[in-house]
């Protein structure tokens, strides 16, 4: 199981493999090399077995690492299970989702056919995938907004004073506030519609 900040972290100890997440956060090139050396071959093998190409394998591997980075940095992911099965399962799940997206029928029924995983590993990987899928959906809906809306929201997210942002964008403070509120409300309605 891995823990989010609002969980009771003190009751669960962090796994020594947390070093992988810490290493990704500081762009430790030796650790990244270790991840590639240990796992790239297995992910390549798995994806090539399941209708994928070398490029697919490289993409999935890279995306999975970024997913883990994002979760570690922005969701304070703390690993309480071994990294290896956790990471391999994320890659395999991502590939299964990709196969489905491409409209193909997955060949295998079980993704953990090569690697037996515990419930804690499974839950941790699923949580990462769920969070990342949600973030992806938010971004997709954000892209549906008009250019002006996107720019206003993007600027507003910087934390700069709204008066300053309004001046930089050449609009009045009142207009910016109103427009930001409308844009965000539109985005939230788009997101809500996706969940129904």
């Amino acid at each position: 199981m891995f823990l989010l900040p609002n969980a009771n972290q003190s009751q669960m100890s962090t796994h020594p493999d947390q070093r992988y997440l810490d290493g990704l956060l500081r762009n430790d090139t030796r650790l990244v090399q270790e991840i590639y050396e240990r796992f790239a071959g297995r992910i390549r093998h798995h994806i090539l077995q399941h209708q994928g190409t070398e490029d697919d394998a490289a993409d999935i591997f890279q995306e999975a690492i970024i997913d883990v980075y994002n979760q570690a940095k922005y969701k304070q992911l703390q690993l309480t299970c071994p990294f290896e099965p956790f990471f391999l399962l994320i890659c395999k799940r991502k590939w299964l989702n990709e196969i489905k997206k491409r409209g193909r029928q997955p060949v295998t029924k079980r993704l953990d056919d090569v690697y037996e995983v515990g419930e804690d590993v499974f839950a941790a990987a699923e949580q990462v995938l769920k969070e990342e899928a949600q973030a992806g959906m938010f971004l997709t809906q954000f892209e549906r907004l008009g250019e002006k809306c996107r720019e206003i929201l993007r600027q507003s997210l910087t934390g700069e004073a709204q008066e300053k942002i309004a001046a930089a964008m050449g609009v009045t403070y009142g207009y910016l506030r109103k427009k930001k509120s409308e844009c965000m409300a539109t985005l939230l309605s788009y997101i809500q519609a996706q969940k129904i």
């Binding site: 060949v107 938010f138 506030r177």
Partner: protein
């Protein structure tokens, strides 16, 4: 949350509500689960967009590192014949298309074998025993295209593990390369008749043999046996197109 909408939530979060209105909103939050959920969602969306849209130099640096390792550990040019870990007794095996084999024995005007028949045998050793050594030696000779040396090694291996479709497949391929065509095709047809991960690779190789022999009819009939979701499907489609 009938009394409030998204814009109210945003005004609340941005501190744009008057004190009295804010007080009422917070009271509503205590009793209205839907409103509380909508507020939580707004916070989640804002936090996610902030994390993903704003520049993250650490992430950019990591992506650069990943890009470097990608080119080292994954090759865009490498084409692979997928092989499933097969039988715990022998561990994993993979077949990779690599380089160009020159088949003078088979050469015709159209070198289908040269285009599609480049197979490399890889063996992952798990047990480190004599059977693994046989497979490793066979793979070494196979990849050096010393096919006549491959066959006796796989013969010996198959005596200890007659169910090994992997050994049968590679022996079949090696046999067709070394002139023992009938024996090779027999092995490959046995593999096709089974249900291993090599099933359709075997069908493809038989088709390829017939294509090289200019026996298009037979080649096409074997290609038709390969389903669209098989690993060999792309190669099969390409060969079929070449033949037509």
């Amino acid at each position: 949350m009938a009394a409030y909408n998204h814009e109210d939530i945003i005004r609340y979060e941005d501190g744009d509500m008057l004190p009295e209105e804010r007080q009422l909103f917070e009271a509503a939050l205590q009793n209205d689960a839907a409103l509380a959920a909508a507020l939580a969602q707004y916070r989640e969306v804002a936090a996610t967009l902030s994390a993903r849209l704003l520049p993250d130099p650490q992430r950019d640096a990591l992506k650069e590192t990943l890009q470097h390792h990608r080119t080292v550990h994954f090759s865009a040019k490498r084409k692979v014949v997928p092989i499933k870990r097969y039988l715990t007794a022998i561990g994993a095996a993979a077949a990779i298309l690599a380089g160009i084999l020159l088949f003078r024995f088979y050469s015709r005007d159209t070198d289908y074998m040269g285009t599609y028949g480049n197979i490399e045998m890889q063996v992952a050793v798990e047990r480190g025993n004599n059977a693994d050594t046989l497979l490793q030696s066979a793979a070494l000779y196979f990849n050096e295209k010393a096919y006549t040396k491959v066959i006796p090694l796989l013969d010996t291996y198959l005596k200890t593990d007659s169910s090994s479709q992997m050994a049968l497949y590679y022996r079949g391929v090696a046999a067709t390369h070394s002139g023992a065509v009938e024996a090779g095709l027999t092995d490959l047809k046995k593999v096709y008749a089974g249900e291993s991960v090599f099933k359709y690779d075997a069908a493809f190789y038989i088709a390829l043999y017939y294509a090289q022999q200019q026996n298009k009819k037979e080649a096409l009939s074997w290609l038709k046996l390969i389903p669209a979701d098989a690993a060999a499907a792309a190669k099969a489609a390409a060969l079929e197109k070449d033949l037509k």
